[in-house]
Amino acid sequence: MSATGNVTQSIPFIRRMLSPTWITIWLTVIVAIIVSVAKGPFALVNSLVTGGMWALMAAGLALVFGVMNIPNFAHGEFFMIGTLVAYFVFNPISKYLRQNPSPAFAAIAPFAGIILAVVVGALLGFVIEKIIFSQLRRRSKEQWVMNTFLLTAGVSVVMINGTRLIWGTEFKGVTHYWDVDPLEFFGVNLSIDRIVVFVIALITIVAFWFFMQRTGIGRAMRAVAQDEVGAQMLGIDLDLVHMLTLSLSSALAALAGASLLFMFPSYPTVGLKPLYVAWYVVILAGLGNVQGAIAGGFIVALLQTLTSYFIGVGWEDVVPTALIILILLFKPSGLFGSEVKGVWEQ
């Protein structure tokens, strides 16, 4: 049914491509291409690699805000848990591999850490929903956004200091996942790790999109975001949807953390920077707008790459923040805010 629909809707499709949303995306692509041609393709390559992971972080954040109305300031801690799990799985394996080299095992070993990190992230999200948010929901929904904001800030402090207490503050990192010579793309040396990270991001984004758009439970999640009462009336179990939403979002953050372990060695506050970036993206794209968050991830990554190259690494956070202030002044709903709206915006 939707396939035939796309054919009949080809004219609105063209109009949609000319909307502010798509113009922003085209502009980003054009800027990336111009810089790539003028200064070498580093901008495109770097922003694709980090952008993919920012997109995953931001999509999870936007999802939780959209479906559960929770501004999750503990999102970065799931990133941290991801790096931690990946480290504790991968480190012993790499030690073992140094004594007993086996190329086949070395090729798949990093995935063990990444997959386990995803599982742990999902479980942790489930536990936090069960012991914190579902309890609060049962007791009072008054001042929900404010209360959950404070709760997530508390969860973040507890998780950071809990990690500090148990595993200490030293950096736990790996220099690389795959000990292979970097590949050369258009004159840029690109480590296998970065390529794999990009591929993971790409696959996850496609799978996530498919899950949200084409499966019953993904559709139910979107339904809850748009009308909670309406969703209940149709037999959608809110508890189940809330649980799945926080699990999925935490799993995405943990996946980002585990995949980027070689760039972000694990320590208790490693999640703060990804958290801030995810918030830049979500504010830029429009709160609760998941598709916008994915596009926004790449836009912010490009901004950061360009800033650190042309202005200086220290300015990496300044430029996106300044841009967000500008966007909020002129378009308070964010760049893509008008396309998908949650209940709280109406």
Partner: protein, 234 residues
């Protein structure tokens, strides 16, 4: 099929309905009429499980359902078409309908229901790829009713389908309800359009200030002095 016994209900500290007792038999078309603020919507919301009654019992197919969460009640076969419609504005008509069949796992049954509602409301078929938020008022009503039918419910609770509709569209909506009834769906309808409703309904209850004050055959109520005076202006 549905029995509501001595139910009190309301919102927090504001009680809206007192001691409401009503029943709907299998295949029946029952109407609940009354002025604004009488508690009609509150009654339906209580049956649908969106409100938990502090007192009284609601039974559906001989099982108590008061206190169950709304999604469980919906899964038992009660479909609620609310006054506010509760559509998903950023989803297409087609997706809204698919969500209506969220509890149906048989693909063939979903297709059958889909073609049934598209037959009933050809307009929805024309607009199936349009976002629900961009539909006109009448189309939204049709979509809400159609979505409520997608789960093949045993009982439909319909809240003021004619509210805010042009007379012609009101007729279309009533015709759809008739079609549903012929299909064997039991209906509990809340309406302010008393004349048409009483002509269509098998039985009706009149609710005033939170209490049931009258009940009877639809045609009998049309001749009732109180109903004529208060609702029909005769």
């Amino acid at each position: 099929m549905l029995e509501v016994k001595n139910v009190d209900a309301g919102y927090d500290f504001l009680q809206v309905i007192w001691d409401v007792t009503l029943h709907v038999a299998d295949g029946e078309f029952v109407a609940l009429i009354g002025p604004n603020g009488a508690g009609k919507t509150t009654t339906l919301r209580t049956i649908a499980g969106l409100l938990t009654p502090p007192r009284g019992q609601v039974r559906f197919q001989d099982r108590p359902i008061n206190g169950l969460p709304a999604h469980r009640i919906s899964r038992m076969g009660i479909s609620f078409v609310s006054e506010t419609l509760n559509l998903f504005p950023a989803m297409s008509v087609y997706e809204n309908l698919l969500l209506g069949a969220y509890t149906v796992h048989n693909k063939a049954a979903i297709q059958t229901n889909l073609s049934f509602v598209f037959d009933l409301f050809p307009r929805l078929h024309e607009r199936r790829n349009q976002l629900a938020g961009t539909l006109s008022g009448g189309e939204r009503k049709m979509l809400a009713i159609a979505r409520g039918m997608m789960s093949s419910p045993a009982l439909m609770l319909v809240d003021e389908p004619s509210l805010g509709l042009a007379p012609k569209l009101t007729l279309a909506v009533f015709a759809a309800l008739q079609a549903l009834r012929q299909r064997g769906v039991t209906i509990l309808l809340v309406e302010q359009n008393v004349n048409t409703t009483l002509h269509m309904a098998d039985r009706a209850y009149v609710i005033e200030q939170g209490r049931i004050v009258l009940e009877g055959q639809g045609t009998d109520l049309l001749n009732n002095v109180h109903v004529q005076k208060a609702y029909l202006g005769i």
